[in-house]
């Protein structure tokens, strides 16, 4: 039983990381229907910003977290402006290739200019474990879990309660109609990118702190997993992304704990395919009725 709860904790903390990343994916997809392949790399940028700002300017944890969110937001907006905006009316698959190009550029540019070595993230918060009835949970795990939840709730509030959130929802349903009623499409899309990318930036610092190891290619695998999480939850849906992220984290943990570690990714994809077959738009996705 102790082991079981320990594995649940492991799964939740892994899942919260996927969930944080999946949120950015799902928001961008919701508004311009683009699989933003570069999202995982913004998370890498956030981690590197945290690394340099803490090491060079001795930022505290909060300062590093907030500043990396700003850096994430800025890079998201810049990428959108230069790489995706010119392709707003191009076929979607073209924009996807551009996103892949941006991802290659960030990964290889960082490797080229800052070397591809793995670095140890400065441990500004010393990790210690709490023992609750034999189940170990560390302060950083709690921190990640809490930050992830707070950010998710905040995001939900922004989308549901603010004017900008309303605009975002309008654009995602029908951008032409939204434009007609006076919504500034470009500004709304930029805002979405800023919001989604700032979450990735935050995730970068949190994960850097948690795992203590960052490198320029760190965004690749979690990026794809987070995308899978977003699709699983129903891409475009904020609660869906969180649920998808936690689900994948727990699934991976479960299969590793029963000794199928070699197949853990295969199982995740298998579950994804099965869920998509039963619910073609993911768990929380709206199934569009096709009009004739």
């Amino acid at each position: 039983m102790q082991t079981f709860f320990q594995q649940v904790i492991n799964g939740l903390s892994l899942g919260s990381i996927y969930a944080l990343l999946a949120l950015g994916y799902t928001m961008v997809y919701g508004i311009i229907k683009l699989i933003n392949f570069a999202h995982g790399d913004i998370y890498m940028l956030g981690a590197f910003w945290g690394y340099y700002s803490i090491n060079t300017w001795h930022f505290s944890f909060i300062e590093a977290l907030l500043s990396s969110m700003i850096v994430g937001a800025i890079s998201g907006v810049v990428i959108e402006y230069f790489a995706y905006r010119p392709l707003r009316h191009a076929p979607r698959i073209t924009a996807l290739i551009t996103a892949i190009g941006v991802s290659f550029l960030l990964e290889n540019g960082m490797s080229y200019f800052f070397t591809s070595d793995t670095r140890d993230f400065p441990q500004i918060i010393t990790q210690h474990n709490y023992n609750i009835g034999g189940v170990l949970i560390s302060n950083i795990q709690i921190l990640i879990l809490v930050t992830a939840c707070v950010l998710m709730i905040l995001l939900q509030l922004i989308i549901k309660r603010t004017k900008m959130g309303k605009a975002m929802r309008a654009v995602s349903v029908d951008s032409d109609a939204a434009e007609m009623v006076g919504i500034n499409i470009n500004r709304t899309i930029s805002f979405t990118f800023a919001l989604g990318s700032s979450l990735a930036g935050a995730a970068g610092v949190l994960i850097g702190l948690y795992y203590n190891s960052i490198d320029p290619l760190m965004g690749m695998t979690p990026g794809i997993k987070a995308f899978v999480a977003a699709v699983l939850g129903g891409i475009g849906s904020v609660p869906g992304a969180s649920v998808g992220g936690f689900l994948i984290g727990i699934l991976e943990t479960l299969f590793q704990s029963i000794g199928l570690s070699a197949y853990k990714d295969a199982v995740v994809y298998g579950v994804l395919i099965i869920i998509l077959l039963v619910l073609p738009a993911g768990i929380f996705g709206k199934n569009m009725k096709e009009k004739v």
Binding site: N10, Q127, D215, Q256, S257
Partner: protein, 397 residues
Amino acid sequence: MKKAVKKITYFASVAAIAVIFAGCSTATTSSKGNPVTDNTIKIGENMELSGAAGGYGNQMNQGIKMAVNEINQVGGVNVNGKKQKFKLIVRDNKTSTNTSASVATQLVNNDKVNAIVGTATTNAGTAQIPNITKAAVPAVSPSATDPNFTLQKNGKVQPYVFRACYQNNFQGGIGAKFTYNNLKARRVAILYDNSTDYGTGLEKAFKDTFKGKVVDTQGFTEGDKDFNAILTSFKNKKVDAIYVPGYYTEVGLIIKQARQAGINVPIIGTDGMADPKLAQIAGNQNSNKIYYTTPFSTKASESNPVAKKFMADYQKKYHTEAPTFSALAYDSVNMIKQAIEDEKSADSTKIAEGLSKIKNFDGVTGKITINKQHDPEKPIAIEQLTNGKVSNTYEIK
């Protein structure tokens, strides 16, 4: 009906072309050996500078550059009484097999190199073998560890393939014996890198040699960061030790997470984790009871003048402690230099001959003798980390 006839004629004509093509003799490209054309000896570097193994490839690149610079600073290699400089041609293979094959053909055919250093990984390395063999240019890999890497399918040695590192069976066997004899561990769990031949090969070699009980074997994928689930499952199995063949990037995290989960048994690994970054990633306070097999022991280097000089130079140039990969790459270049000096020629076929005859070569990673399988025979040591620092070195005979 008509349509079917049409289709049949169509395909028949296509098949006819195919037969014509297959029947006629076709040209093949070939060349034999690259002699020295002008006064420089060209060394090609086919290296993983980007892609999954980019981090390791860049460490090797540093070692190679250092070796070439050092050789050129003293005027070059002594070829039959005449000094000739090295010219290094660096090409990136993106950690991809087909790019590696292409890079190798470019190096041997267009750049006309006399020898190649590379690749870092076995997969990229095997992709270059057909091309370098055709061109008769030897290649020394600093870190391709698959036992069959230097062998042809029929078990004969590949004439132009060499390596500077241990092959898996040797290293895994040593690790297993050490775990059983010195650490007295009887129940061992293995957590290995399932996405590289390095991890899978060592896992197999360890299992084959280990006399105790392997209670659990679990794999991870390169780039994984979370090992808590696997470690938690190990915790209940009452293991005496954990064997972790993999690279320092992941093993560092395994050590950190194991210690934080309260697993304090010895962790034994391989030369892939012999890197100062290991303790940085794991955290010094977590790096206790860590053992790894390594050719390049910091302790042993104090008695080895070549290693001592290398360590000091590396520190001066890159402001960090030298990693094993840089040392292996540095040795690869110097083995080529030694072969040239021994054979008094820098023609590619002669270098290959010279490499196969290397005996008692003083390398950073110990005294190297190339055996019949083109594997280096050199001493192996096991280092122990305490609080992130090497506290003990076991010489294995």
